[in-house]
Symmetry: C2
Subunit: 259 residues, 2 copies
Amino acid sequence: MQVPNIIIIGTGRLARHLLDALANKPDCSISIIGRDSKQLKTLTSLHSGIEVISYSEILPGSICLLCVNDSSIAQVASNISQKDCTLIHFSGVESLDSLKFSHEHSAVFWPIKSFGKDNAVNWGDIPVIAEVSSEQSKAAIKTIQNLLTCNVYYLLAEQRMQLHLAAVMVNNFSNFLFHQAFLWCKKNELPFESLIPIIRQTALNISNEDPAKFQTGPAARGDEETIAKHLKLLHNHESLLKLYSAISSAIQNDESAVI
Amino acid sequence: MQVPNIIIIGTGRLARHLLDALANKPDCSISIIGRDSKQLKTLTSLHSGIEVISYSEILPGSICLLCVNDSSIAQVASNISQKDCTLIHFSGVESLDSLKFSHEHSAVFWPIKSFGKDNAVNWGDIPVIAEVSSEQSKAAIKTIQNLLTCNVYYLLAEQRMQLHLAAVMVNNFSNFLFHQAFLWCKKNELPFESLIPIIRQTALNISNEDPAKFQTGPAARGDEETIAKHLKLLHNHESLLKLYSAISSAIQNDESAVI
């Protein structure tokens, strides 16, 4: 059996993480396409045997990984004139249509992961949401899944977007709370490091059951006196006051808590 | 040297966790006071050598641990007619005044920890914020610290309350986001377990540096198109819509991000 021909398109964080994971695998051939020649040089210097190619050199049967911003997906797809290949994008919110418009075989491969600047990535720990347009694109997803040894769930576009919204809440929103707590501690000369154990414990508590069972705090127990003390501390910090009030109100009005 | 005489007052979760940690230590003597005789029986049956006593039996020099609700601290303190002992409460927001009013030697020992129903507790992992009224109460805190082998920070009441506010944000508020994401997944038949790795990673990223460096997502990058898609998904979910909008706005208006 011929080894799959994989083309990474893009030179950003996702491209780098995929290259790190796929390069040097004996059972695939990796090429890369990108506009940023300096970045291309950096990426190819990290791994041997990675060929830099152009769009016109994409071979039939290739798997093209579009590691680009959501807004560039359709444009990049239109650059690929080779029709007998599978196009895969990595967005949590973009539909397959932007690829299907130009290519019959297309798929989504959305890793539920925030690719930060520093993180090393273990793909085996990353759940991936997939959607496919055809049997060929399903086989392409299976190839990538096997190479990365990650866990794949198949969802339709609407469900993927719903899950993306949930991921924003648990990742982006909670990180923002940690950031606000950090600034608050810094401003008031408090030891932020004393909060790290409770941050970790809160996350480690989470299993496949309702986290409501770990909900404590003044808002959950209707402790208006403590809430008033906190609001008083925040009286000169309008934005934090608004954030605190909005979330405390949401907790106090949470009817699901009694389900 | 005489071993310290420690009186646990209360029979709730905190009393149980302290009893679990302190019972059977060779270098202290533990008694317990409580109104709930059934709970007292349960707690003392778990450990041998724990004496149930009444307020009038508190000996001079004892360390009294007031494991009661914030609103009951002053009342319990007034029940202790023995003046030559040290009273310690465990609140993040109550001042020392409620104890100092009746007793010269008093202290605060606030563990930064959400004592849930199921958690086992390792006191060595729990940072504790302390405040003392005298040398004797400082010695009492030192005794408890040594017995529990925990990490103690001394802060004044105002700072402790500021840190309590930050703890509410990182623990109660983030847990509420996880709870909301859980309900959303359940309602839409999405695999909540696929979010657990990103929840854990978000927390494990946190060190003593500004978490802003891990901030990603539509609000942080000004991706109005994705935010609009999310808001559309939420159009029939008023409370979640309000929460999403409030936090997204706070992220978009966060001027500290450029510091």
